[in-house]
């Protein structure tokens, strides 16, 4: 494990998490959420949890984001917080 | 065949659920019979399993043939067996009783509805028999996910109530998972018996008691224990009547069972009472739960909503009883799981029948109901007497055990709360009875109109209701047998002293 890489990903994970819950547009939120999932998946791949990382990449970053966008498409992008 | 009962218990409703779901797209008419078969088989196998347990003692079943800490094992003793029978039999009765309501409410999605119904039973039954901490989480999610979807089928505010339940339920599930994670990191095992044997060496570790707190909070959210109950009234009020009479009696009681199981079999009594010293705060919290549940029930104008708050105060009875820390209290709590499940299903089935006829459950709409639906109201009164705790009905006996336990433990606040809630229940039920018995008469006199015709609920809805309300009295009469054969064997020796 390369600790610099690890640290960079850890920081980014926290940043995307905070960004995802504080951005004022749900579509951006969906994309940030996808990015968060993907970073998480990288983190798990680093920790040698390949199966979990694979699942998260296909589910969290892939299908979940699509569902999210689909739901936003049928509701609204607007959010006050 | 005998040895496979624990597995068949799960497989039969599970396979039937998938069949129902497939058949919904091929032949719709066959869905309901298949669901009845699945649920009926589940009830039959659980009764047989209980008989087996009573004859031969604890039953173990290793799934996949792997021995315990590596594979997943079932562990069925008489406590599981009793809860199992309650869950599967009541679910079956409810399935029969609510047939008409379902057919009228969701004609096109009957298949999907019964699929979720069966999967909900699978989730609850699995939670009761499993001996693995993580398996319990997965089954908890099966039961929760199905209940979110079923509750959201109701009218008006149901989707919002269901989404709130989903948020709270997920927090509860995640807290439980966190607790299991903390146990896993400290012991390296997920099997309940194995964890229990590893824990005594590390009782002093802060991680273990944090694990316990998190499991307790998680389970507490799911069973709507007082400060965490906010999701329950809305969810159960707005759910369709077929669903609320399924979920309200079973879900919360199974969660109480899970709490007792965690207290007895995972963290032993030594830990829960001697090391943690949580008993006093928990009993006080449940005292608060009982008082608040009862007082909030007084403020309700909707029959179903009133029942929801009664459920919340009954949860307080069971949690408080379990935490009293003596044999009588624990016996009362376990007995009350059985009794409360029966009382709640009777109340909600009666409410379902009333709703089927008069299409509303606001208290002022109930006028003259005794003349229109005498049998339904008779069952309602029986259930009410049992909730109040009048002797021949079963509610009296569990309350008796609880009060005895509380007196032995010196928890006079809890005794006072029990008496207070009984008093409030008297007011609640007599108010309903007054409205529905006398309300109509005055109305009829005032206008000189002829009395309304008798519109009793159809026989398929009425018979199950009559069966459960007869059950209320029968269980009450056989309380002694139930306590000595089913409950006494599971009370730990440390409590009997």
């Amino acid at each position: 494990m390369i600790w610099q890489l690890d640290l960079a990903i850890l920081t980014l994970v926290i940043f995307t998490a905070i960004a995802a819950i504080s951005v004022k547009d749900l579509l951006s939120c969906a994309i940030l959420f996808g990015a968060y999932s993907f970073l998480m998946c990288l983190l798990w791949a680093i920790m040698a949890a390949v199966d979990v990382a694979f699942t998260e990449a296909s589910v969290g970053a892939g299908v979940s984001t699509v569902f999210f966008v689909a739901a936003v498409f049928h509701t609204t992008r607007r959010t006050r917080d | 065949m005998n040895e496979h009962y624990p597995a068949l218990l799960i497989i039969s409703p599970l396979l039937m659920a998938f069949l129902v779901s497939g058949m919904a797209w091929i032949r719709k008419g066959i869905c309901y019979p298949l669901a009845v078969v699945g649920s009926g088989l589940c009830a039959w196998f659980s009764v047989r399993l209980l008989a087996d347990v009573l004859k031969n003692g604890t039953v173990q079943y290793r799934l996949g043939g792997w021995e315990a800490p590596w594979g997943i094992g079932y562990h069925v003793d008489s406590l599981n067996g009793m809860v199992l029978v309650v869950v599967s039999v009541l679910a079956f009765i409810n399935l029969v009783a609510t047939r008409r309501g379902v057919a009228a409410e969701f004609p096109e999605k009957e298949g999907a509805f019964y699929t979720l119904y069966l999967l909900f039973i699978v989730g609850l039954v699995g939670m009761v028999v499993t001996g693995d901490l993580f398996n319990l989480y997965v089954l908890l999610e099966v039961a929760s996910l199905t209940s979110y979807a079923l509750i959201a089928l109701g009218k008006a505010r149901a989707p919002l109530a269901s989404l709130n339940y989903l948020f709270m339920g997920t927090i509860g599930g995640c807290f439980y998972l966190l607790g299991v994670g903390y146990l896993y990191i400290m012991t390296g095992s997920l099997n309940m018996a194995d964890v229990a044997s590893l824990l005594p060496d590390i009782y002093q570790s802060s991680a273990v008691w944090v694990a316990f707190i998190f499991c307790l909070v998680g389970v507490g959210v799911k069973m709507a224990f007082f400060p965490l109950h906010v999701w329950l009234p809305n969810a159960y009020t707005w759910a369709p009547s077929a669903v609320s009479s399924l979920i309200a009696p079973l879900m919360t009681k199974v969660m109480v069972y899970v709490m007792i199981r965690l207290m007895l079999s995972v963290f032993s009594l030594d830990f829960t009472f001697a090391v943690l010293k949580l008993a006093n705060p928990m009993v006080w919290l449940s005292t608060l739960a009982i008082v608040m549940g009862a007082s909030l029930a007084l403020a309700q104008k909707n029959l179903k909503r009133m029942f929801c708050y009664i459920v919340i105060s009954e949860i307080g009875y069971m949690v408080g009883g379990a935490w009293l820390g003596n044999a009588a209290g624990l016996t009362g709590a376990i007995l009350h799981i059985l009794n409360d499940a029966l009382m709640t299903i009777t109340l909600f089935l009666a409410a379902g029948n009333i709703y089927y006829r008069i299409n509303g459950l606001e208290l002022h709409q109930l006028q003259g109901l005794f003349h229109r639906m005498p049998l339904t109201m008779a069952c309602f009164v029986t259930a009410g007497l049992s909730v109040i705790g009048v002797p021949p009905t079963c509610g009296f006996f569990s309350k008796w055990y609880l009060i005895t336990g509380a007196l032995q433990a010196g928890q006079y606040g809890f005794v006072a709360a029990l008496l207070f809630s009984s008093l409030v229940n008297v007011i609640l039920f007599f108010r309903v009875i007054e409205i529905s018995y006398y309300g109509g008469m005055q109305h009829a006199h005032g206008h000189g109109s002829p009395p309304e015709p008798r519109t009793e609920a159809p026989a398929t809805m009425l018979t199950p209701l009559l069966i459960v309300s007869v059950g209320l009295v029968t269980i009450g009469m056989y309380t002694g047998t139930i306590v000595t054969t089913l409950i006494d064997p599971v009370i730990p020796a440390a409590l009997l002293r």
């Binding site: 819950i21 939120c29 | 979807a149 989404l163 989903l166 927090i171």
Partner: protein
């Protein structure tokens, strides 16, 4: 203080998961928008998955796929070479549970929006009050 820093370094994964969990839980409780709450819920769940995966970690160990081949044959497995696979299995299940919950919750959100034309909790409650 001197023993705090080694402790921080030795367990930073656990600390990080707690921070993420707090972010998620805060969003679930304090946010007003239903979809935002859902995102918080997902962050909460992934943080727990991170915790479990961290439990399974061993320093210097590789992925839990046993090296095998024609000429290696069956020999004793060197445990320090492979990470603990059990948490991975548990977390596969947890991921599936989280995506299922997410799907159902989005379906509920669409239903709520169809009814109230908004996803803000306070606006929905304000709409319900007059009745």
């Amino acid at each position: 203080m001197s023993d705090l820093i080694p402790m921080l370094v030795a367990k930073y994964n656990y600390w990080l998961y707690i921070v993420l969990m707090m972010i998620g839980l805060y969003a679930m409780i304090a946010k007003n928008n239903l979809i935002k709450k859902l995102v918080g819920m997902n962050i909460f769940q992934t943080s727990i998955i991170l915790f479990y995966v961290s439990i399974g970690c061993k320093k210097g160990a590789g992925i839990p796929i046993i090296q095998h081949g024609l000429n290696t044959g069956h020999h004793a497995v060197d445990l320090s070479q492979y990470v603990n696979p059990l948490p991975h299995v548990l977390m596969l299940t947890a991921i599936v549970v989280s995506v299922s919950t997410f799907g159902v919750a989005l379906a509920l959100a669409i239903k709520i929006y169809q009814k109230y034309k908004t996803l803000e909790e306070d606006e929905i409650l304000a709409r319900l009050r007059p009745r």
